[in-house]
Subunit: 324 residues, 2 copies
C-alpha cells in the first residue's frame, strides 16, 4: 500500500497535494507509483461540476462566492483547473490561489493551481486523476474550471457530471459568440453580474439563451426544463443558492434515472482508451526511438524516403527495441 | 516493381483509378502493397491547391469552370475530395462526377469521387496518397476540395501548396461566420457569384474580407499583397483567369524564396508522423486485442479496475502478442 494512501483517505491536505504532484509527474517511476495508487483508492463519489467561462465573466469571483457558500453548508469543495493557455506560458502568471483569496484560506476548500504541462492531453490526464484523488480525500463537490478556448471545454465536459457555462450579460448580437457545440454540452447557463446597472441586460441575456436552448434537441439525460439559463451575481451572492439547487436537482434526477452512473461508466471507458493510446504513443519518447525518428524524418523531408515506408521502418525498429 | 507503376506513370487513367482504390483499401495486404507502390513513385510535382467552400457557394460550378479553363491551357487537372460528412453517410449521395459533368468527360481531367471511410484520419491518409499518385500520373494541378466542416479544412491546408477559400456574396454581418482560424489559413479568398444582381454585394464582400485580411499578422510565406480577396463568377467565367494568375504568381514567389519546398518538407514530416501514430494505434485493431479491450473496458466501466491500471495491463498484453 502506498504511504500516501492512508493520510489521503483521512483528508490530510498535504498528502492530497503530494499525491497530485505525483500524478502530475511524467517520470516513469512516478507514473508507475501513480497508477498503483489510483488503483488502490476507495470508491467515494463527489459531484463533479465542469465550469467554463472566458476571462472577464467573473469566473474567479463566482468560484470564490459559490465555493464559500457550499462550505457554509458543511460541504468540502475542491477546485481544479484545465487551462490550455498555461500549457503555453508554463503555468498561470497569477496563481489560482491569489485569484480566490477567501476560499484558499477556507479549511473545507482545496484549490490546486493549474500545473504547467507540455500539452492539453497531459493536463487532461492529470486532472482526471486529481479528481479521483480529491474524491478519495472526501471532497463532496469538485469544480473543474476552464477558460473557453479550443478543446478544453470538451475535455472538461468529458470528466464532469454536470457542465455549467458562465457568461457575462451581453447584447443579443453576441449570443452567437457562444459556439453551438458548447451550448449543446451545457446543462446550466449562468449569466453572471446580474446586479446594479447590468441587471436588465443580464435578464435579457438569460431570456435570449433560454430561447436558444429551447431550439436544441432534447437529450435523454435531461429532465423537463433542462438545459436551463439563469441569472446570478457572484458579487452580491444573488441566485447562487438557486443555481446550486438546480444542480443538485439535476444530479438527483440523473441518479434516479440511471444516467448519472451510465455517464460515469462511459467516461471511465474513455479514460481507459485515452491512457492506452497515450501509452502506445509514448514508445516514441524513448531516447533510442527519438534518434531513429530524427534520422527517418530527415530522410522523409529530403524526399529520400516515402512517409509510409518510413513509418513501416520505424514500427519495425520499435518492435525490435521492445524485444531487446 | 508493382504492375500498376508503369501504366500509372504513362498516364493511364484506369491504372490511376486502380492505384487509388488500392490506397483506399484497409486490408493489410493491400496496405503493404500501397506502401511499396508509393515508395516507387517518381518525384513529379503538381501544384496542389486546397479549396474550401460550404454548400451553396457554388463550389462544383467553380471547379467545373476553373478546371475546364486550365485544361484549355493544356494543363492536366485532378480533383480529389475530403468530405467528412460522407464518412458518416457512407459516400456522397450524388457522386462528384455528376456534380461536374463537363469536367468529368474531359480527357485532361480526372475526378475521384469521395470515398466512404470510417473516419477523417482515414480520408486524410487516402487523400495524401492519392495526391502523390496523381502527380506521378502527370497531372499538373491537383484541386483538393472540402466542405468547411470541423477539422477538414485544416487537413486539406496541411496537404496543399496553396489554400483557397470560396465564399458567397454576403452582408457585412456574416463576415464573422468565417472562423478566424480558417481566415488565417487562406492564401486567396474568392467571392463567387460576382455577376448580375449580386455583383455589387460581391464587390462589397471582397472589400470587407480584404479589410479583415489586412488585420491578420503577416506570414513569412506571403509576398506583398497576400493573402488576397477577389471577386469571381463561376457562371460567367469572369475573374477565373485572374485568380489563376494570382495562384501561379504566389506559387512562383514561394518557390523562388524557398517557402514552397520548406512547406512540402514539413508536410512530408507531418505525414510520416501521422502514419506512424496510425500504425502504433492499429495494434488495437487486431481481433485478439479487441477481445482483451472489450473485457478490460467492461471491468473499467463497472468500476472493478482503474483506467490507468487497465491501460498498463493492455500494453503488457500487446507486448506479449507481438512476441508470439
Amino acid at each position: 500500500m502506498d504511504e500516501l494512501l492512508k493520510p489521503l483517505i483521512e483528508g490530510n491536505r498535504r498528502a492530497l497535494s503530494r499525491a497530485i504532484t505525483l500524478v502530475e509527474s511524467t517520470r516513469a517511476d512516478h507514473r508507475q507509483r501513480a497508477v498503483a495508487l489510483l488503483a488502490e483508492l476507495p470508491k467515494k463519489q463527489a459531484l463533479r461540476i465542469g465550469l467554463s467561462g472566458t476571462p472577464g465573466v467573473g469566473k474567479s469571483t463566482f468560484i470564490e462566492a459559490f465555493g464559500t457558500m457550499l462550505t457554509e453548508q458543511g460541504l468540502r469543495v475542491a477546485v481544479l483547473a484545465v487551462d490550455p493557455s498555461s500549457t503555453r506560458s508554463g503555468g498561470s502568471i497569477l496563481g489560482d490561489k491569489t485569484r480566490m483569496e477567501t476560499l484558499s484560506r477556507n479549511p473545507r476548500a482545496f484549490i490546486r493551481p493549474t500545473p504547467s504541462s507540455a500539452e492539453l492531453g497531459g493536463v487532461a490526464r492529470r486532472t482526471r486523476e486529481s479528481i479521483r484523488l480529491c474524491e478519495a480525500a472526501g471532497y463532496d463537490v469538485i469544480l473543474i474550471e476552464t477558460v473557453g478556448v479550443g478543446q478544453s471545454e470538451t475535455l472538461v465536459a468529458e470528466m464532469s457530471d454536470l457542465f455549467v457555462l458562465l457568461l457575462a450579460p451581453a447584447g443579443g448580437d453576441e449570443l452567437q459568440g457562444v459556439k453551438r457545440g458548447i451550448m449543446e454540452m451545457a446543462d446550466l447557463i449562468l449569466v453572471n453580474k446580474a446586479d446594479g446597472d447590468l441587471l436588465p441586460t443580464a435578464r435579457r441575456t438569460v431570456a435570449d439563451y433560454a430561447g436558444a436552448l429551447r431550439l436544441l434537441r432534447k437529450r435523454p439525460q435531461d429532465p423537463e426544463g433542462f438545459p436551463k439559463a439563469m441569472a446570478v451575481s457572484a458579487a452580491t451572492g444573488d441566485g447562487l443558492d438557486k443555481a446550486w439547487a438546480e444542480m443538485t436537482a439535476l444530479a438527483d434526477w440523473r441518479r434516479e434515472h440511471g444516467h448519472f452512473e451510465a455517464n460515469r461508466a462511459a467516461q471511465e471507458r474513455q479514460w481507459f482508451m485515452a491512457e492506452l493510446r497515450a501509452g502506445l504513443l509514448s514508445q516514441l519518447d524513448q531516447p533510442q526511438a527519438q534518434a531513429h525518428l530524427a534520422r527517418l524524418g530527415d530522410d522523409v523531408a529530403q524526399g529520400k524516403l516515402a512517409p509510409g515506408m518510413a513509418a513501416t521502418r520505424m514500427l519495425d525498429l520499435l518492435g525490435q527495441m521492445s524485444q531487446e
